[in-house]
Every structure is written in structure tokens, then in C-alpha cells.
């Protein structure tokens, strides 16, 4: 069995980005996933490239992610139907207006080009908006991607970069052989590697357990809904102050409604079912923002699992105590910044100085260790 330079477990946007940049940097790279590439959260998310929903501390990363997504032809190839368009974040009550002011200020302080605008100005930018808006925040850096196309573009790029892609192969555990890692796959194969990256999204918690590392990761079961193709009802990305709505119309006329309303599911079974009250609530919010939507039909709803750490901040960096093992995941609004986050970790692995700080998991492991001692 030949030994590869880098094994990445999990072919979502994080794992695929790390693998792509590592392979281009000269490492012999194997990317393995139990399913097809980018078919979990990375392929079923809303494709929102907004800064209005990004955690303030992650704004600089999300802006780099936005730049990468809007220039995929230059570095990725393939077509992901990325559209750059302004984003409008709305407030419908005085309370929400106060929240919008505070949150916009915090994001602006981190560099986001967000300005507050009057309801009249918001409706000039987005004529489809309802009259009920009391305040809006405008961001010139927003847009959306066809997330479902992500895997296709990455697959072609990875193969072009000579990375080995193993889809439909489940890693059941990791063994050590000296300093090397050996992935035991359930088809009987063993993949031996000098370096290991775990990029399993919500499944990162059981993956870390292979290495004896305990790091609890919460599973969010996000609902999404899409309408049939309809005449233009909006042209911007619309969100609301508390982050519970994302709304945009794709070029083909379908309108995608998201915002993190919860469905039922878990790590073991994946997304199980929509919660009808939450679909209706999410759609009511959407129709409150863009009333014309009432005239269209709901065609499909689905679920995507999002990972969240205890402090809702990413974990990207070396796994403490295990040399040459890394992890990446739990990035809030992770799809938008994913290509950039992957590049940062690949830089670290390739021995280059990452251009922005990573997010070492040590802060969370410490707490777990203390908790275990008590």
C-alpha cells in the first residue's frame, strides 16, 4: 500500500477546498466521502453569500469568501451560477430596527460595506418589498450561488489537480502506524497517509472520537423551501434583522426561502422531516417581506445539517496532541466562506503562513477536559 501525503475525510465545501489547494500545492491528496461529493450541507444549503447573516468576527473571512465565489472562473472553473447582487436586511418593528442598527454597526466595524437606508430607499432598490419595512440595511457585497452545483465544479477541479476522489467510501476508523494515519474503510480498503484532515461537518464529532478527541458539536437541522419558476418578484438578497430569513430569486425564476428555521433530524438519521409549522412560519415571513410571493407555489422543501460548536465559532487548525492531524468545520455561514477557510488550512498544511488567523479547537477541548475532571 502506497502512502499518500494527505488524506481528507469529508468531501463537503471545507474538505474539498482543503484538498484542492493542497493538491495544487503539490501534495498527493486523497479526498474520501461516504456519499457523493458536496451532497450534504454543502450541496443543499441556500447558497446565500450575504454578510447580513455572518457573525461579526467572521466578516473579513466571509468577504474573502465572497471574492472567491464571485470569481470562480479564475480559480475553480465550472459554473455554479454565482450572481453578485446587493443585499437588503429588513426590520419590521421598532425592536427589530434597534437590532438592525446594532448588528449592522458591528459588522461595519469589521469591514462589511453595510449602510442603513430608509424604507423608501430600500423599495427603490428592491421594488418588490412590502410597505411594512421600517428600516433596512444595504450591503453592496451580497449574492447567491447554486449550491447544488458545487460538487460538480469541485469534482472537475480536483481531478484536474490530480487529487484522488473516493466517493461512496465510508471511513470506519483511523489507525496509527508510527506517525502515519491509516483510514479503515468499510469496503475493506486502507488508505495510509502522512497527514490527516477531518472535515465531516456535523459528523466531525464522531470522527474526532476515532483519535480519542472529545469535542461536542451541535446539529442544526435547517429547513429550506423553493417555489416554482415565476416572473421576477425580486432582484436582491433579502434577509431580516434577527437572521431568520434569507430570500432570493434565481435566474431561472425559482425563489429560495431559508433562514435556519428548524426541521426534525439528527446526526444518525440525517434530515428526517420538515416541521410544517416552521415551513409555514418561514413562508409567512417571506411573504411579509415580498408580498408577491403569495401568488406562487411551493415546490420542494428539504433539510440540511449545520454544525455548531459551543461558542458558535469555527474550529480550524491542528488537532492538539496529534501531529499532522487537522480539523475544519462548524463555520457559521460556512458555505459562503468555505473556499477561503479551506485555502487557509491548506496554506498551514503546506507550510505557508495563512493570511488570517485560524480557529484552533484548543479553547473548546480545554473546557471539555475540565468538565471531565469534575
Amino acid at each position: 500500500m502506497s502512502c499518500t501525503d494527505l488524506l481528507v475525510v469529508g468531501a463537503g465545501i471545507m474538505g474539498a477546498s482543503v484538498a484542492l489547494h493542497a493538491a495544487r500545492g503539490g501534495l498527493r491528496t486523497v479526498l474520501v466521502d461516504r456519499g457523493p461529493i458536496c451532497r450534504e450541507a454543502s450541496g443543499v444549503n441556500a447558497g446565500t453569500l450575504t454578510l447580513h447573516m455572518t457573525r461579526a468576527a467572521l466578516i473579513p473571512y466571509a468577504m474573502e469568501g465572497w471574492r472567491l465565489w464571485t470569481t470562480t472562473r479564475d480559480w475553480l472553473g465550472g459554473e455554479i451560477d454565482v450572481v453578485a447582487t446587493p443585499g437588503l436586511c429588513l426590520a419590521f418593528t421598532d425592536e427589530e430596527a434597534a437590532l438592525l442598527e446594532a448588528r449592522s454597526a458591528a459588522r461595519r466595524a469589521e469591514g462589511a460595506p453595510i449602510e442603513l437606508v430608509s424604507p423608501t430607499e430600500a423599495r427603490r432598490i428592491e421594488p418588490g418589498l412590502s410597505e411594512r419595512v421600517v428600516l433596512a440595511a444595504h450591503c453592496s457585497m451580497d449574492g447567491h450561488a447554486g449550491a447544488y452545483l458545487t460538487g460538480r465544479a469541485y469534482r472537475c477541479a480536483l481531478l484536474e489537480a490530480d487529487a484522488a476522489l473516493c466517493e461512496g467510501v465510508t471511513v470506519a476508523g483511523i489507525e496509527r502506524s508510527g506517525s502515519r494515519f491509516i483510514a479503515l474503510c468499510n469496503d475493506g480498503t486502507r488508505i495510509e497517509a502522512e497527514r490527516l484532515v477531518l472535515a465531516g461537518g456535523v459528523w466531525l464529532e464522531p470522527m474526532l472520537a476515532w483519535l480519542g478527541v472529545r469535542l461536542p458539536i451541535k446539529v442544526l437541522v435547517n429547513q429550506l423551501a423553493v417555489t416554482e419558476r415565476c416572473p421576477p418578484v425580486m432582484r436582491t438578497v433579502v434577509t431580516i434583522a434577527n437572521g431568520l430569513l434569507s430570500l432570493k430569486q434565481f435566474a431561472n425564476g425559482t425563489v429560495l426561502v431559508g433562514g435556519g428555521w428548524q426541521g426534525r433530524g439528527d446526526r444518525e438519521r440525517g434530515g428526517v422531516e420538515l416541521i410544517p409549522e416552521n415551513i409555514v412560519g418561514n413562508l409567512r415571513l417571506a411573504c411579509w417581506a415580498v408580498p408577491q410571493l403569495r401568488r406562487t407555489r411551493l415546490v420542494r422543501g428539504w433539510l440540511g445539517l449545520e454544525a455548531e460548536t459551543a461558542d458558535a465559532m469555527p474550529i480550524i487548525g491542528p488537532i492538539p496532541g496529534i501531529e499532522n492531524a487537522y480539523l475544519i468545520g462548524s463555520v457559521h455561514s460556512g458555505y459562503a466562506s468555505g473556499p477561503y477557510m479551506g485555502q487557509l488550512l491548506a496554506d498551514l498544511i503546506l507550510g505557508r503562513e495563512p493570511e488570517r488567523p485560524l480557529f484552533p479547537p484548543d479553547r473548546l477541548l480545554g473546557a471539555v477536559a475540565e468538565e471531565a475532571l469534575c
Binding site: 460538480r152 410544517p276 410571493l293
Partner: protein, 475 residues
């Protein structure tokens, strides 16, 4: 919104659903039947609009009326004009109907959703004037409408003579029947179907009518192209082999103003897919079906499938299958012991086997013929909802799509309002040809809503305070 609870919910008020609900209610189960249509009947026994009621007494009308009467007297509750859009674990149901959203729950769920028509795409199949055979049946039977003055009826199966004969009776001229099957296929189907002389006699009646009208019957032929001319539709046909592959050099053209075409019926599996039941690919009964036992039990406890939704056996077998599944539910809910279940179900099992032979023989005539897809050129639309061509699908397969769901994501094929019902067969065949078969290509993941639902109906009237907005996301 108040939720109303039942022992058994039956989805679909066709022959299987009507009989199942009648049996279950008679056995004492609190039973609900949900259907989109305003009256029970399904497709075969579709009730005509009220103003047509006094006329006509054909066999379908009589059988349909008998099933409807029994259902009405059984005590089962009917939720008609209801669009069921969501089913949860434990069989909670959400529907929109007259008066807005409705919620139900049931201890057991019986799926009797029938079939969807298969139309394998060919150049020009989306031209106005081309309609499905099943759609033509509905127009003719329920609405008394003729699809055109000069009609070509094409495809396969017993709907060919039925639609042609009804079109002739309604005053249309049938330019030709273009049949994928050959006369020997019909002969062997008739021999297999001899258990139902009554139905064969009805078929003979259609044939007499067609012979009297001198309707040409082109056997072992397929429509391979439709274009529009000043006179109407110009329809190209080619001879086909047993697998449906068009044979070059055999072209015959024909003109018409309407083409009714259908390549068989596919069991509707939306509900069982949504609920995660196990499915198997059984081409002889129409394709993918839920894996059920003889009584219609799936591997999901208290979830049953009856009638053509479990595999095409025809309208005559459907009520028997419905009764069997209802008996299984009555037993599984503790209202009937095993001895009585066997005693009551055995006669139905035997009778069903007999009549199903006829339905299966007819389904065999309209079996999937993979070679027919050779007629689809690179620029032929496969998914008409999203305008996805065959070239785009072939391209996605070339770049690594190995199952139908990955293909759906990479092409949008199947993402439109038909939710993959129209393009599913063609996509399954195209992917299957590259990955070792339909079973390997998989089937669409089940999704809610089960049918497109107007947002207006879902959201209703409300104030901002009525929206249960969750806690704000972290900053």
C-alpha cells in the same frame, strides 16, 4: 389548527382506496380518505361532472358508482378536494382544502395513489397538441372533450384502443394508432388475460368500433419526431424492435392536429419514498415500487400500499388489494386476530391473483422499452419544467453523476413543479445505462410538499405577531 385523529388514513380515492376505506370503516376503524378530486373515483372510475350524471351507463360508471355508494355507506370520513402536502413520522398529515389548511393524524396509513403516466421523450414531445394518453382518457371520459379533430393515438397498452375508440365515438377522426407492441404481443396478452372474459369483450367492442371507422393500426412502430406545420402536427414514425429501438430506413409520416401518446404507467411512490420505506425495482409491474408483502405491508410499521401504486395490476384487482391491505391494518391495530385475518383474506388473495393476471398482461404490453430513448437527440428536452436537454444530462453523467439525485442537483432535472414525475423514467434509464441498471441509479429522494401548493393557501391571512419567529441567530 385543530388536528383530527383517525385509526386509518387512506390516501387516494380510486378503486383501491375506496375499497380499503370501506372495509376498514366496516371493521370499526375510524377511517379517513383523502383525495385531490371533488368526488371519489380515481382515474379509471373518475366521476363525471354533476351535469353529466343522468346520461351514460357504461361498465366503468356502474363499477365506480358501486364503489362510491359502498364508501358513502361505510361511515368512512371523506376529505375531498384536499391537497395533502406533508406527512410526518407517526402519520401526521397536513393538507390544504376548502376553508384552508387542515391537520389530521392516523395510527396507520394506507397509500392508494395509483400511477403516473410514462412518456419517454422524443424530439417535439413538448409541442402544443401533444398530450398524454391518460390525460386524453380524462378529457374524453370525464369532460367529454375530444383532443382534436384528426388524432393520432400512439404508445403502448390498452389505453391505445380505449382512447382511439372513445375519440371515434366522440366524433373525431383517428388518423392512426401507432403501437410499440406487435400483434404477437397482443395475442399473448389476450391469452394471459383470459381470466377476464368481460374485459376482453369490452376490448373487442373497442376494436369493432375502430375497424368500422377503418382506423389504421401500425404495429411495432414508435413516434420519433413531432413538428408543427401550417396544417397542424407532422408526426414521424419508425419501426421498432422488441426493445423499442427505432430502426433506420423505416420512416412513415402522418399528419394530425393532436397526438395522444403514452408509454405505460409507473406506480406513484411519492408517499412511501417520503416516509423512507424500502423500494425495489420491478419493471414487470411498472418500475420502482415499495417492497410490500402479499397484504400490502411495507417495512415501515403500519404503512401499507394497495392497488397500482404497489405495482400495476389493473383496476379490477385494485379493490381486492385495497380490502387486503385494510384487513392487514385492522389486524395490525389489534382489531382482528391472526386466524380471522387469514380466514378473511385468503379468498381475496386467490381472487386477486386471478384478476391481476389480466392487469399484469396489459401492463406487460406497455412495459418500459429502453431502446425508445434512442429517439431522444442531444437537444431533446428531457425535463420540461426546467428545460433540461438530453445533452445536459449526458454531460452531467460524463462528469461523474452516478445516481439520479446527484444528477438532479447537477442539472436541475426533476426540480420543477412535476417534481420528477415526468422526467424520472428517462433520467433513471439514462443514468442506469451508465452505472449498471436502474437499481444502481436509484430513485428520487422523497420530498414534501407531495404536490406543489400555492403559498397563499399555506400562509393564509396573518399579522406579523402571528409568525412564531425563533430566537435571533448569534451575532
Amino acid at each position: 389548527m385543530a388536528e383530527r385523529s383517525f385509526d386509518l388514513a387512506v390516501i387516494g380515492a380510486g378503486p383501491a382506496g375506496m375499497a380499503a376505506a370501506t372495509s376498514a370503516a366496516e371493521a370499526g376503524l375510524r377511517t379517513l380518505v383523502i383525495d385531490e378530486a371533488p368526488r371519489p373515483g380515481g382515474q379509471v372510475y373518475r366521476a363525471p361532472p354533476a351535469e353529466f350524471l343522468p346520461q351514460g351507463t357504461d361498465a366503468d360508471r356502474r363499477i365506480g358508482d358501486e364503489l362510491r355508494t359502498a364508501l358513502a355507506e361505510s361511515g368512512a370520513e371523506l376529505a375531498l378536494d384536499h391537497r395533502l402536502w406533508w406527512i410526518g413520522e407517526g402519520f401526521e398529515l397536513a393538507a390544504v382544502g376548502p376553508g384552508g389548511p387542515h391537520r389530521f393524524s392516523a395510527r396507520a396509513l394506507l397509500v392508494a395513489t395509483g400511477t403516473t403516466e410514462r412518456i419517454l421523450p422524443f424530439p417535439g414531445w413538448t409541442t402544443p397538441g401533444v398530450i398524454g394518453l391518460a390525460a386524453a382518457t380524462i378529457l374524453l371520459k370525464a369532460d367529454g372533450v375530444v383532443p382534436g379533430e384528426r388524432v393520432v393515438v400512439a404508445g403502448a397498452g390498452p389505453l391505445l384502443p380505449l382512447v382511439a375508440a372513445k375519440a371515434v365515438a366522440a366524433g373525431a377522426s383517428v388518423a392512426a394508432i401507432v403501437d410499440l407492441a406487435r400483434p404477437s404481443d397482443w395475442a399473448s396478452a389476450v391469452i394471459r388475460g383470459r381470466s377476464r372474459p368481460d374485459l376482453l369483450a369490452r376490448g373487442a367492442g373497442w376494436l369493432r368500433r375502430l375497424a368500422m371507422a377503418r382506423v389504421p393500426w401500425w404495429s411495432a412502430r414508435a413516434v420519433v419526431n413531432v413538428s408543427t406545420t401550417a396544417e397542424g402536427l407532422s408526426i414521424d414514425t419508425l419501426a421498432v424492435n422488441a426493445d423499442g429501438e427505432p430502426q433506420p430506413g423505416t420512416r412513415r409520416k402522418i399528419g394530425a392536429d393532436a397526438l395522444c401518446i403514452g408509454h405505460g404507467l409507473v406506480p406513484s411512490t411519492e408517499v412511501t419514498r417520503l416516509l423512507g420505506a424500502a423500494h425495489v425495482f420491478r419493471p414487470e409491474v411498472g418500475g420502482w415500487v415499495a417492497d410490500v408483502d402479499e397484504l400490502g405491508r411495507t417495512n415501515v410499521p403500519h404503512l401499507y400500499v394497495a392497488g397500482d401504486a404497489a405495482g400495476v395490476e389493473g383496476a379490477a384487482a385494485a379493490p381486492l388489494a385495497g380490502r387486503l391491505a385494510a384487513l392487514a391494518a385492522v389486524h395490525d391495530l389489534g382489531r382482528l386476530d391472526a386466524t380471522h385475518l387469514a380466514r378473511r383474506s385468503d379468498p381475496f388473495v386467490a381472487r386477486r391473483r386471478g384478476v391481476a393476471r389480466f392487469g399484469k398482461a396489459m401492463a406487460g404490453l406497455a412495459r418500459l422499452r429502453s431502446g425508445l430513448l434512442d429517439a431522444a437527440t442531444p437537444d431533446t428536452i428531457i425535463c420540461r419544467c426546467e428545460d433540461v436537454t438530453r445533452a445536459e444530462i449526458d454531460g452531467a453523467i460524463d462528469t461523474g453523476a452516478r445516481d439520479v439525485n446527484q444528477l438532479k442537483a447537477w442539472t436541475r432535472c426533476g426540480m420543477g413543479p412535476c417534481q420528477g414525475r415526468m422526467c424520472g423514467e428517462a433520467v433513471g434509464e439514462l443514468v442506469g445505462a451508465q452505472v449498471g441498471g436502474r437499481a444502481q441509479a436509484g430513485l428520487w429522494t422523497g420530498r414534501a410538499p407531495l404536490r406543489p401548493v400555492p403559498l397563499e393557501d399555506l400562509v393564509g391571512g396573518y399579522d406579523y405577531a402571528d409568525i412564531p419567529i425563533p430566537q435571533a441567530a448569534p451575532l
